[in-house]
Symmetry: C2
């Protein structure tokens, strides 16, 4: 097989989940989550270059990202992966999913692997599921917009829809929350609340319903920590609309909700597109 | 029902099909085409405003677009629809599909109809099929990128994949070709050639294979008129890669293929996103 020795770069939007239900399965392609979230114009840029030995940098710092290593192994390459993002890490923005998906897309281009988009999403989704770091970010990030995950799993198994709106988003982050810890715990109450939130959004697929359903989900599942709840309440009390990113100690709000309530928030927009190659 | 009296605007990318097979069905949601094409950064902007009586303007000129009228009827509104595009009309760029889809998206926003993205795509696809003006543009234009139509029909029936590449596109147009005439004729030879082209692209989902398969399809189906064939040959003879837009007297080429061969071509790029609302 001829290996084109060139570099490639991909951009993948960030993704905050508002609510979800977990759907484990023996087959990682069928494993995933139902739920909904917002893809963000703040995302991750992943550069890939063929190398004798694989390495991963995140914002210039060497780091072990299991999902990325699994993508490289699954695509049978060794490469240096260089990811840059302004998103907070470990805070519910889907950075590991974005790194896995961006790596798959850039590797496909740099090494001329000739895979289709669905195949690349499947590679990244499977890697993220096996790493235990996410269930639904990858398929959402491949799509863009405001994805509704109707059925769990990779393309061919899962099913997606979307809320046909766009909006400015603000966010503040208080620190990390381990996705792996929550996903390995008791997910039954959580999943019941997630299924009810999804039913409400499918009934009325609007941003307003998404935010209402997300807030109800966060409260019912006890994931809303006191400090996060206080910020969400502050936004609501100044007439705004906020909820908590699943899973992170992060509050996201529509429009200028957080800055109106006096918080020093980062701002971006929903992202119209999914993953893509960049020059 | 409260009617929000506001205007809304949507952008939908253009779409050139390289090859296709036709799949009629009694149910318009299941009717469609298999095949593949390129979505274009040159597209159609559709503005919608509530009005006592419906009207449709295309580049400032009143015109009857059956698919648009069907979308308005199906969403139970009367509105003035104002579409602007730099794309040639009736030349294989999916302008009618873009107008139908943009109308559905903008109407949903202006009239707060609360439909999901899949529902809006279904409304526009069904309208386009019933109007007889297209089979696969709408689902491709809702997705963006370089869509492969694996299975025909609206969301829930059809299935899509994509070629994970981006490219500059050039095009020249010699004039109109009636989609309705071709689609109402004998489509058996055409569909057999389309299925073979699709099998080749699924086997190797790259831009190069897409262009090769498209050219072979155009030759086998006798749709390549002598003047179109001459331009395609000129591009190939100068080392470029071109084929014919299905269905239009249009040649599209990768990169600078047409200008390198001395043609005065329009230029754009593949579009990373599908339909979207614009400010």
């Amino acid at each position: 097989m001829s290996e084109a020795q060139r570099s490639a770069r991909a951009f993948v939007p960030g993704h905050v989940t508002g609510f979800f239900s977990a759907h484990p399965h023996d087959d990682p392609e069928r494993t995933g989550s139902r739920g909904a979230g917002l893809t963000l114009s703040d995302g991750v840029t992943v550069s890939v270059e063929p190398a004798g030995e694989s390495s991963v940098l995140l914002n210039g710092t060497p780091c072990a990202v299991d999902a990325v290593e699994r993508v490289l192994a699954s695509m049978d390459v060794t490469a240096s992966v260089d990811a840059e993002t302004s998103l907070p890490l470990g805070a519910g923005f889907g950075v590991s999913g974005a790194m896995a998906l961006g790596t798959a897309l850039a590797v496909n281009h740099a090494f001329e692997r000739g895979r289709s988009e669905n195949e690349l999403v499947t590679v990244a989704h499977t890697a993220e599921v096996r790493a235990g770091t996410g269930l639904g970010d990858v398929v959402a990030q491949a799509r863009g917009g405001i994805p509704i995950r109707l059925e769990p799993g990779a393309p061919g198994h899962g099913a997606l829809d979307g809320v046909p709106e766009t909006t400015r988003i603000e966010y503040v982050t208080l620190g990390e929350l381990s996705t792996a810890d929550v996903l390995s715990g008791d997910t039954e109450t959580l999943s019941r609340a997630g299924e009810e939130a999804l039913a409400a959004l499918v009934e009325e697929p609007t941003l307003t319903t998404f935010m209402d359903a997300s807030r109800r989900f966060a409260r019912r599942t006890d994931l809303l920590t006191p400090e996060v709840r206080e910020i969400v309440d502050d936004v609501e009390n100044t007439g705004g609309d906020a909820s908590m990113a699943m899973l992170g100690r992060t509050v996201f709000a529509l429009g200028t909700g957080l800055s109106d309530a006096g918080y020093d928030a980062s701002a971006c927009h929903t992202h119209p597109a999914g993953m893509r190659l960049v020059e």
